[in-house]
């Protein structure tokens, strides 16, 4: 187990005409290890993956310094098909990695390119399908697969090459919770088979269970490197670079700051529960029954009323995406909607903004049927901010980008400038007014997309998956913008997300969707206690809520939503 198969020393890389992405990093990976690289967006994680797999320099050029040894060769010195025999690569976007019209053809593609005998390929396909859990899917077209299944098919297609090293670049960042679990359990099986894996990820709480080694990159440099326990328990360091520490680690880290330091900061939920129990037993910690403020904001008037709405996508066969949904959103609410992909969240929202028309039932905005308005007219009342800003940015400057929507709704010239200024200031992009949108960072492009909608001054703002492909800071940055819209301007906010911590922190009301229906709807605190409904929708409450739930017999109030609340619910005894 001790032989080093990847050795990187003093590696630097600068893209052609671009910034220096890596600045002198060194590390070793041993055979059979699951080596996880974490860090904020732009830290150099993807660049590292590309160098190890030969994508750099075969597809992207640049200047490299330092030494890289992968399985006895340097990917820099050989054509990519040579490296591909030993190193398999999986990227974020499951869609663009499937290139063949069936799962079988996809899995056969790689080994057939290498001229592996047919019998051997068939054997490998059977084996790979078993590992990724897609037996019986051989003849499926990629179109017929869910996001998690697509990503597993893409992983299977890499496995049939029999790589000795797998390089996975954020394999779960575009998946829903269910897809994430599926892909991570496939990765766990690979680890058990002894395959060496280098993976980048943002999902600290899951990684804590899987990784053998964790490396934290920030701005092209290594800031921490060691076992998950060493690295992930270093809450302060993680917070500083913008990697979310496990919630239970944050809790215990804060306890240490209060002067209790008889323990090591745990990184796993189970360890944290056991530690807390023994500390309560030893009289070090004391559980408090705390009462949470039950009074929600006085409800305003209903602003959106969804009445018995069913929507069916026409086709062969027709697909019922939402069934008899009844829902009232009140003015000034901050509502979170959670649920797996395909549970009907996006369909519901598209019906509300008029992109789709209900098959049955109706939707009222302030008492008026929304189908009376065109999408353009509705956009002045209800703003929908989509996941990916790149679907809408097209102008040559940020200013123009915002002006586009305002022009479309006919805002007078004098007011336009004022609104553009305000919107840019609101998202903090006023200094980039004349910049070309596509030259901005992904986070800034998202902010710009938000500004473009905010400038149109809608009364309701809907955010669809503000977390996709965003790092920890990016997620909170967008949610913070929503919160400010909510608090400062009294806007009604609806936020669709897969990030439970995010809704726990921001949403006052939470809706759980599954299979086209609403499973639960109520104050966030209450909904995260409905374990049956959540389980049915394959969702879990935030880790800190689970932590409190496990300690309810010890007297801890289970309705905790954040680490701050937990610190009140379970305090030092003295």
């Amino acid at each position: 187990m001790s032989d080093v198969i990847v050795s990187v020393s003093n590696l630097s890389f600068q893209y052609e005409g671009g910034a220096e992405a890596l600045k002198g990093i060194s590390f070793d990976v041993k055979r059979g290890e699951l080596f996880v690289v974490m860090g904020p967006n732009g830290a150099g994680k993807t660049t590292l993956c590309f160098i190890l797999s030969g994508i750099i320099p075969n597809m992207y050029g640049g200047v490299r310094k330092g030494r890289v040894n992968v399985l006895g060769f340097d990917p820099w010195d050989q054509p990519i098909y040579e490296t591909a025999k030993k190193v398999g690569v999986l990227l974020q976007d499951p869609e663009s990695q499937l290139i063949m019209p069936s799962v079988f053809a996809e899995l056969a593609f790689g080994p057939a390119n290498l001229g592996v005998p047919k019998e051997e390929i068939l054997k490998r396909i059977r084996e790979a399908l078993r590992i990724v859990g897609l037996e019986g899917f051989e003849d499926r077209h990629p179109r017929e697969l869910s996001g998690g299944q697509k990503q597993r098919a893409a992983l299977g297609a890499v496995l049939t090459m029999m790589p000795e090293l797998l390089v996975l670049d954020e394999p779960t960042s575009q998946l829903d919770p269910l897809g994430t679990t599926e892909v991570l359990s496939a990765i766990r099986r690979l680890k058990d088979l002894g395959i060496t894996i280098i993976m980048t990820s943002h999902k600290t709480e899951e990684i804590a269970y899987l990784a053998d080694k964790v490396l934290i990159l920030n701005d092209g440099k290594i800031v921490a490197y060691g076992s998950p326990r060493e690295v992930l328990s270093n809450v302060e360091l993680l917070e500083n670079v913008g990697v979310k520490p496990p919630a239970v680690s944050t809790y215990f880290y804060e306890l240490r700051k209060k002067g209790i330091n008889t323990f090591d900061v745990p990184i796993l939920l189970e360890d944290a529960v056991n530690l807390a129990r023994s500390m309560i037993y030893d009289g070090i910690l004391k559980a408090n029954a705390i009462k949470f403020d039950e009074t929600t904001h006085s409800k305003g008037e209903p602003i959106i009323e969804v009445k018995d709405v069913t929507f069916v996508y026409p086709g062969e066969p027709p697909v019922t995406a939402i069934k008899n949904i009844n829902l009232t959103i009140y003015e000034g609410e901050f509502v979170g909607i959670i649920g797996q992909n395909g549970s009907g969240k996006t369909t519901l929202v598209k019906n509300i903004v008029g992109l789709l028309k209900p098959t049955k039932g109706k939707i009222l905005f302030k008492g008026e049927d929304v189908t009376k308005y065109t999408v353009a007219e509705l956009s002045k009342k209800i703003g929908l901010i989509l996941q990916n800003p790149d679907y809408q940015l097209f102008t040559l400057s940020c200013e123009e980008e915002i002006r586009f929507g305002l022009k479309n709704i006919g805002v007078p010239e004098e007011e336009m400038e004022k609104r553009i200024d305000e919107a840019l200031k609101f998202v903090g992009l006023e200094h980039l007014r004349d910049r070309y949108p596509f030259a901005l960072s992904f986070g800034d492009r998202r902010k710009l997309a938000v500004a473009a909608i905010v400038a149109m001054n809608p009364e309701v703002i809907i955010m669809d998956e503000p977390t996709t492909a965003q790092d920890y800071r990016g997620r909170y940055m967008l949610a913070d913008l929503a919160k400010r819209m909510h608090e400062k301007y009294g806007r009604t906010i609806i936020m669709i997300t897969h990030d439970m911590d995010l809704v726990a922190k921001y949403a006052e009301r939470l809706i759980v969707m599954w299979n086209g229906e609403i499973l639960a709807d109520g104050p966030t605190r209450k909904v995260f206690q409905m374990y049956d409904a959540l389980e049915k929708a394959f969702l879990k409450p935030p880790q800190i809520t689970q932590f409190a739930h496990h300690l309810r017999d010890e007297g801890v109030t289970p309705e905790v939503l954040t680490v701050e609340e937990m610190l009140k619910a379970l305090t030092p005894a003295t």
């Binding site: 994508i55 663009s96 090459m161 353009a376 790149d390 929507g405």
Partner: protein, 284 residues
């Protein structure tokens, strides 16, 4: 409903080599191309009924054929109406008005000969379309790609074709999302007139579309290259790419049928047609 869709099954037609099926399609197109007279309807109908028998053997639902005809109905009616009035026929079925274009037909008169000619053209269209599913529904892309290498088409080219087919839905999907994203900013392309559409309306949609597709193409290239595409070795064939006895039998049959049809066309079609007409209770 999709026109290009491989449906897995194990039938005689599925087992046939793609080259055999392609040959059959080409023969059909030749036959359709040379059938230019009204009386050729007979050989077209013979060919079409064999095609439908092959449908049956290949377990392709005849319902699908009916929906194909339904889709083509608009074109068929158009052809028949145009031919009915434009064809230089003599037997008037009904008259709207009289206007004889110089040296041509009286375009106010719907003639029996025109009707028949229009029907013949429609049968040509249906025949040509009806054989395509026999290829597309029963041949997997992979087998098609691999067989093409036997015809000395480099794998690279057939791969480009298949990857292109694969990216069509990707492009459609992206197009739809971009259109929706701009609608949300009160930009509604569906509500604009053609002039406006053509000159400026597409900019907000085409710009993001192209940039996004370039990015996706980049990802795709990584997925392809990191799986050793273009490695200088002989590729493994995953599918059966050889011609077997059944292919020779099938080819012998379709070639003989083709020869028979051409023979009929050249020597007996007119005679047969006249006999057929006389048997039918038509207003002649």
């Amino acid at each position: 409903m999709r026109i290009v869709e491989y449906i897995k099954a194990d039938t005689f037609i599925h087992r046939l080599n793609p080259i055999s099926k392609l040959t059959y399609v080409i023969l059909t197109l030749i036959l359709v191309f040379i059938s230019t007279f009204t009386q050729d309807i007979i050989i077209l109908l013979i060919w079409l009924s064999t095609a439908l028998i092959f449908w049956k053997i290949g377990k392709i639902s005849i319902k699908y054929f009916m929906s194909l005809v339904k889709i083509l109905m608009g074109i068929i009616i158009f052809i028949i109406v145009v031919q009915g009035f434009m064809y230089r026929g003599e037997t008037a079925l009904f008259v709207l008005f009289h206007y004889r274009i110089p040296g041509g037909a009286d375009i106010g008169v719907f003639t029996y000969e025109g009707l028949m000619f229009g029907i013949m053209i429609s049968v040509r269209v249906i025949t040509a379309v009806a054989v395509l599913p026999l290829f597309t529904f029963t041949t997997s892309y992979l087998r098609f790609m691999e067989t093409m290498t036997r015809l000395r088409v480099p794998f690279k080219y057939s791969f480009i074709f298949v990857a292109g087919m694969r990216s069509v839905p990707l492009i459609q999907e992206t197009w739809r999302t971009v259109t929706e994203a701009q609608k949300l900013r009160a930009f509604d392309i569906d509500k604009m007139n053609i002039f406006k559409k053509a000159f400026k309306a597409y900019i907000p949609i085409v710009t993001p579309l192209v940039l996004l597709l370039l990015r996706k193409a980049n990802d795709m290239q990584i997925a392809i290259e990191t799986r050793a595409f273009g490695a200088p070795v002989q590729r493994t064939f995953m599918e059966d790419i050889y011609l077997h006895a059944r292919d020779y039998i099938f080819l012998a049959f379709v070639f003989s049928l083709f020869a028979f049809c051409v023979y009929l066309k050249l020597f007996y079609a007119q005679e047969l047609w006249n006999t057929l007409i006389s048997l039918l209770p038509l207003p002649v």
